[in-house]
């Protein structure tokens, strides 16, 4: 026991690991390699006899489940519980998506992730002129609570966690989810899941905004406050780097801009009077995974360490849970090629492995045919199987942070953290993220990176298999999923039926209340809940808010 790190290991087991394992025991499978060699929860540098070297290790890397969380947020990582396998799904009508959800749950998926169609995401009802051609296309169309009830029919909300990719109208869709829970007899404080609710990255990269930044942030913080009080197990935001990466940023930009967004939300919540340690544990993150395995692992570790430091040093967080960066990962859709689609399975495998080696809390693996259209059922199953093979057969889940100590990965981790820190400093200088967005700083940095990357591909300085090398002639595309053209018409018919059958007085009254509260400083959530319970539609609610808040136009940030 002369090695100081051995003493630290004993302390960690005593103080951190044992509690965690008591709460969530390790899985019953044997924790051995393929040849039967036993595997430990964590591996440490050897011969670190010097006290200074030991202190440096603890400061930079440390133990899983302990500050600065470089090695992961849980002490025993996947030995206790795998990441949540959460396939993003949704298309056509609520009934169709409900069938896909149940199919996925039957095949071993452990959480739901709802994709909404673009009209829903931008707060237009399915019969709005701007919804033409878009209803049910990239996700499920939700107009009223009736759709949400159909979406979760026969799925007990106390037993699944649900992630919803919804931003500008997040308050409305979340209110509908809470209302469905109530109808199933599940109180809000027993519901688990995540709403994306990250508006800043919409202006930066994703584009599904409705209102200008200031009222958007106000709705966001209303959701935080409501969640902290009524639905404390629900993650009320998922600060998203995925779309920033998909827009073409580098790994360091993904971390830097995402954490800068995170800082802006924490600051907004504090201005709204929320205590950091009450709110920060409900902040989740969402990153992309590219095919460059080592850089991605470095990125995830860097993000975790940098966020821990920001929360502690900048915001004075005391609760360790405030300092943990928990994240969902999706394999990067932009890496999928329309050529030789089976190659995508291999890409996704590497990307998924990067996410697992990087310590993700949940994972979506893209399907091989997604550069062509929405995935078929068979493709989705293969994507899910990919995660299951990594979980059960690769050995990557046997020990925490298996790549720690790799000279290369540690260096990447350090570099990405440093570069991200610089980007955050730049944004601080500009007066914060909202200001930086107005000056188009992150947007233009992302555009520059995207252009440079694409130029390298065009010039053959970067090889994409099957695209600019090893090109096959006369490929035939596989069968793809087509969304039933009738689905849109049925959706509109259902909306009209709901409108005809609901109590119009209750709708008007609750919508009026929303409008009035939007102009005040009160929390919008209770009024929105009343309106969705009266079967007011997403579009009707958003229209009232548009009337008060105005609409955001591209280029006006």
């Amino acid at each position: 026991m002369s090695d100081p790190l051995d003493r630290e290991l004993e302390r960690w087991k005593r103080e951190t690991l044992s509690d965690a394992v008591a709460k969530v025991p390790e899985r019953p499978e044997r924790r051995v390699t393929a040849s039967g060699r036993p595997v430990d929860t964590v591996y440490l540098p050897r011969n670190l006899s010097n006290a200074a070297a030991c202190a440096a290790y603890l400061e930079q890397i440390g133990f899983p489940g302990e500050y600065p969380f470089t090695r992961g947020v849980q002490p025993s990582m996947y030995r206790s519980r795998f990441w949540t396998m959460r396939q993003y799904a949704g298309f056509g009508s609520a009934e169709e998506t409900n069938r896909r959800f149940r199919y996925l749950l039957d095949h071993g998926q452990t959480g739901l992730s709802v994709a909404f169609d673009l009209p829903t995401q931008i707060g237009y009802d399915s019969d709005h002129a701007l919804a033409a051609g878009e209803v049910g296309k990239v996700g499920v169309a939700i107009d009223t609570l009736a759709d949400m009830e159909a979406l979760f029919d026969a799925i007990p909300l106390d037993r699944v966690s649900t992630s919803m990719t919804i931003n500008a109208p997040a308050a409305v869709l979340w209110a509908m989810y809470l209302a469905v829970g109530a109808k199933q007899g599940v109180a809000a404080d027993r519901l688990t899941g995540t709403i994306q609710n990250d508006m800043l990255k919409e202006y930066m990269a994703r584009g599904t905004y409705i209102f200008p930044p200031a009222p958007s942030l106000r709705i966001t913080t209303d959701i935080f406050a409501y969640g902290a009080e009524h639905a404390p197990r629900f993650n009320t935001i998922s600060v998203s780097g995925y779309h920033i990466r998909e827009a073409g940023s580098t790994a360091a930009q993904e971390v830097g801009f995402t954490l800068a967004d995170g800082i802006a939300y924490v600051e907004a919540a504090r201005r709204a009077g929320l205590d950091v340690d009450r709110f920060a544990p409900r902040v989740a993150f969402f990153f992309g995974a590219m095919t460059d395995l080592f850089e991605e692992v470095g990125k995830f570790r860097a993000a975790r360490r940098l966020w821990a430091r920001i929360m502690k040093e900048r915001f004075g967080a005391k609760d360790p849970r405030s300092c943990t960066l928990r994240f969902h990962t999706q394999t990067c859709g932009a890496t999928l090629t329309a050529q030789q689609v089976d190659n995508n399975v291999v890409r996704v495998t590497l990307q998924a492995l990067a996410a697992v080696l990087g310590g993700t809390q949940s994972l979506h693996t893209n399907s091989r045919d997604e550069a062509l259209a929405l995935p078929t059922e068979a493709s989705v199953q293969l994507a899910l199987r990919t995660q299951q093979v990594i979980a059960h057969e690769s050995g990557a889940a046997l020990t925490a942070d298996p790549l720690a100590g790799s000279y290369y990965v540690e260096k990447l981790t350090d570099e990405i953290e440093a570069e991200a820190r610089e980007l955050i400093a730049r944004i601080d200088e500009m007066g914060g993220m909202v200001r930086a967005l107005e000056r188009r700083y992150p947007q233009s940095e992302i555009e520059k990176s995207a252009f440079a990357y694409q130029q390298e591909i065009e010039r053959g300085r970067r090889v994409i298999v099957g695209v600019n090398q090893y090109v096959a002639k006369d490929e035939t595309q596989p069968a793809i999923l087509t969304v039933d053209a009738e689905a849109a018409r049925r959706q509109v018919a259902r909306l009209h039926k709901v409108r005809a059958e609901r109590d119009p007085k209750a709708v008007t009254r609750t919508l009026d209340a929303i409008e009035q509260i939007a102009g005040s400083e009160q929390n919008l959530m209770p009024a929105i809940l009343d309106a969705v319970r009266a079967y007011a539609s997403v579009g009707e609610i958003c229209d009232r808010l548009r009337g008060v808040f105005g609409e955001h136009e591209e280029g006006s940030t």
Binding site: M430, G431, R435, E438, R439, R440, E553, E554, G555, S556, T557
Partner: protein, 336 residues
């Protein structure tokens, strides 16, 4: 050609758009159309907008459009963007900020590339503005490139000129000193919700107080406004001022003055272009002469050769410019 002019007068959008392409390309019948336009217009004030890139010129014009439309004005906008010196291509991105007016038939926005013209405007700008006028658009708003280079051109064709400044765009103190304020009738500081903008506003006031122009101006020099184009704060007040200027630019005397300035500017552009072309041709010929070789070796004086070349070029111009086969006198002389 007369049919085209008639169609534009009858608000035919497509004819207007195509006529703009014609003057922009300077091909075929462009010269005739330009001559026709000169006599057919000069009744409508042109508002000039300049300022550094990114300061919010398009956003301000967007905000003004909304308000001018509310007052039932049909508004024409010309938005200039720079042509790439490498590729001759251009990214015309200003109208992204005005897309909310895209479907309004009483707004006509045209993006123009500078096509390698210095001065922040293209040769076609003036003709396109006249075309907008012919098409019944009143007023015509012209947004320059705003790369901080000499933008005096806008002052020579617009009835009045708005210089837009804002915090955070380069060293604005230098910008002020470099002189764009000299051509300003109205100075607007954007993003006035930021403290730096308030400071900038103070500096602008200070600078203008000292400027020679302000002293000379009997009305007390350029007006100064602080606004926030994005939220619209201060835009009403600014517009009120611009409309007053617009009104006082409408009397006969002002119209005549404007027309004379524009025609002078047109001649100047056209003549300078001819001179430059003739000079380039003369130089190309000259570079293959023995006199040139002597100069390169440092064996003769440049000043006499240069003035001779200049004089010859002018002579060539007067004896029929634009003819590609014409050799200049200087070239012929030196080859003997």
């Amino acid at each position: 050609m007369d049919t085209l002019v008639d169609k534009i007068r009858q608000h035919d959008r497509r004819s207007l758009a195509e006529a703009m392409s014609l003057v922009d390309s300077d091909a075929g019948e462009a010269a005739r159309l330009k001559d026709l336009l000169r006599g057919a217009t000069a009744g409508v004030p042109w508002w000039g907008f300049t300022g550094p890139p990114g300061v919010g010129k398009s956003t301000l014009i967007d905000a003004l459009l909304t308000r001018l439309r509310a007052a039932c004005r049909r508004v024409g906008v010309l938005a200039l963007d720079p042509t790439s010196p490498v590729s001759d291509g251009a990214l015309l991105g200003d109208r992204v900020r005005m897309m909310r007016h895209a479907e309004d038939r009483d707004v006509f926005i045209r993006s123009l590339a500078t096509r390698r013209c210095a001065g922040g405007l293209s040769d076609a700008t003036l003709h396109c503005a006249r075309l907008l006028e012919l098409g019944g658009f009143d007023p015509v708003l012209i947004e320059t490139v705003g790369v901080g280079q000499n933008e005096a051109d806008i002052a020579s064709i617009a009835d009045f000129c708005v210089v837009l400044l804002g915090p955070g765009y380069g060293d604005y103190i230098q910008l002020i000193k470099a002189g764009p304020l000299e051509l300003a009738d109205v100075v607007v500081v954007n993003k006035c919700d930021m403290p730096e903008a308030q400071r900038l506003l103070g500096e602008v006031r200070e600078e203008l107080r000292h400027s020679a122009r302000a002293a000379a101006e009997s009305e007390g020099g350029p007006a100064i406004f602080g606004i926030e184009a994005k939220s619209g704060k201060g835009v009403e007040l600014l517009l009120e001022h611009l409309l007053a200027r617009d009104q006082s630019a409408r009397n006969d005397e002002a119209r005549q003055r404007a027309q004379r300035r524009r025609v002078l500017s047109e001649i100047r552009r056209s003549a300078l272009r001819s001179c430059a072309q003739t000079m380039d041709r003369a130089l190309a010929d000259f570079s293959s002469t023995s006199v040139f070789e002597e100069l390169v070796r440092g064996r003769s004086s440049l000043s006499t050769v240069a003035s001779q070349l200049g004089a010859d070029a002018l002579a060539a111009l007067t004896s029929g410019a634009g003819d590609n086969s014409k050799r200049t006198e200087a070239a012929r002389n030196t080859r003997r």
